[in-house]
């Protein structure tokens, strides 16, 4: 049909970068554009410029909360934390253990349990029996006045996995709580920003069953400097069970 069309489309300079960003290219043309982005610096810069120009239009797109299942599916697909070669089942896999902990702290929500279980990655679902050989350490991170437990932290030393569970309390607006390992006589080591839900993280080198941990209040997204900058809102020491 193009033969009888008016040639409105002709006589323009190459606008491929803009057309790519606008989204009017078909699948094959987009694939070619992507190859050019990877191989031609000038074209990549042109695409970046068009993105900076056109993407602000998303301001007009209404935000829609995705269902919780989306994050759960993402968490399951993240690269699993490093596992020790010895993958015998331990306390870690025991739902009974977590139920016990729930009772013990009185604040571990069922939702957090789900996150803990999901966060472990693709593993057999059936909780095996607790093993006496598991090396677990637990800390209750209390507020500086010792009046309230802000986080419960559980370390599986064999697997080098740490679970951090918030145990209630208001989360400050516009600040991020950040977890720190406080090695004796050395600067604190960041272990990441804490979400509102239970979090499974790989234990950093130097973290033992007797380590001291702290949580500081940092700018959103975490300390910009890599060292704690805000007040300590919770602290405590791991103790082996």
């Amino acid at each position: 049909m193009s033969a009888i069309e008016p040639d409105d489309a002709d006589g323009f300079p190459d606008l491929t970068a803009g057309e790519y960003v606008l989204g009017v290219l078909d699948a094959a043309e987009s694939a070619i554009a992507r190859r050019r982005i990877a191989t031609e610096a000038a074209f990549a810069a042109e695409v970046a410029a068009w993105e900076n120009s056109l993407i602000p239009l998303i301001d007009e797109v209404a935000a829609v909360e995705p269902p919780l299942s989306v994050w759960e599916a993402i968490a399951q697909r993240l690269t699993p934390v490093r596992r020790s070669a010895d993958s015998r089942p331990g306390f870690w896999d025991s739902l009974a253990f977590w139920r016990g902990l729930t009772l013990a702290t009185g604040a571990l929500a069922a939702a957090s349990l789900a996150v803990v279980v999901l966060g472990r990655g693709p593993e057999p679902a059936a909780p095996p029996a607790p093993s006496a050989q598991a090396t677990l350490a637990v800390a209750q991170l209390t507020t500086p006045d010792g009046a309230a437990v802000a986080y419960t932290v559980t370390l599986d030393e064999a697997r080098r996995q740490l679970v951090v569970t918030p145990t209630g309390g208001a989360r400050p607006q516009n600040r991020s709580p950040e977890l720190w390992l406080m090695p004796d006589g050395q600067p604190p080591v960041s272990m990441g920003v804490l979400p509102n839900q239970a979090l499974v993280v790989a234990a950093p080198a130097g973290l033992t069953g007797e380590s001291i941990l702290g949580v500081s209040l940092e700018p959103l997204g975490g300390s910009p400097s890599g060292a704690p900058t805000g007040p300590v809102i919770a602290q405590g020491q791991l103790m082996r069970l």
Partner: protein, 184 residues
């Protein structure tokens, strides 16, 4: 919270994601997933497809956050461009099927700016809206429809019942005028 501190927090979080920090990814997700889901829904018009693509987007963020360059784009621009690309790819992959089914219920969505849009918008948004307003009404409509729905030239031509060459002319003329206006 200001746009500036938002941007700084997201940039910092993306740097941490690049270093393998899962909690930082969760932060990025909490801050941006509703917007990116809205973008995916608008393009894909299917919650199931949009949820699936949203997953892929954040898995890509997890793996490729190192590619984010603060000096080239704001974090939300980087994330939104990634989201649009993924959603558009999915649309192209499923488009052949969907085209035949028809999406009459969605076609009526008006891409004109709402009265409230831009009320709290940043400088870049106001500038773009000003430049779009300078276009002929029909051309601005076509640009908006292309942007929000991720339609190809062919799909736009079908939608508007207008010859392909004419639609290409509208878009290319609009892009040229936008470029001139935005650089002014």
């Amino acid at each position: 919270m200001t746009a500036e501190s938002d941007r700084a927090a997201l940039s910092a979080a993306l740097r941490r994601v690049a270093g393998g920090d899962q909690a930082a990814l969760r932060f990025v997700y909490d801050q941006t997933s509703a917007k990116l889901f809205g973008i995916c829904l608008r393009i894909l018009k299917s919650e199931i497809e949009a949820e699936d693509v949203l997953q892929d987007i954040y898995i890509t963020v997890w793996r490729k956050a190192g590619g984010f360059d603060e000096s080239r784009a704001s974090p939300i621009t980087w994330l939104a461009a990634l989201a649009r690309n993924r959603a558009i790819d999915r649309l192209r992959a499923t488009g052949a099927r969907r085209r035949d089914i028809g999406l009459a219920g969605f076609d009526a969505e008006d891409p004109s700016p709402s009265a409230l849009a831009g009320l709290e918008a940043g400088e870049d948004v106001r500038r773009l809206q000003h430049c779009l307003a300078e276009l002929e009404e029909r051309q601005a409509y076509v640009v908006r429809t292309a942007f929000f729905e991720g339609l190809t030239y062919e799909a736009l031509a079908r939608r508007l019942e207008t010859p392909l060459g004419t639609v290409k002319g509208w878009i290319r003329r609009s892009l040229m005028r936008l470029r001139v206006c935005l650089e002014a």
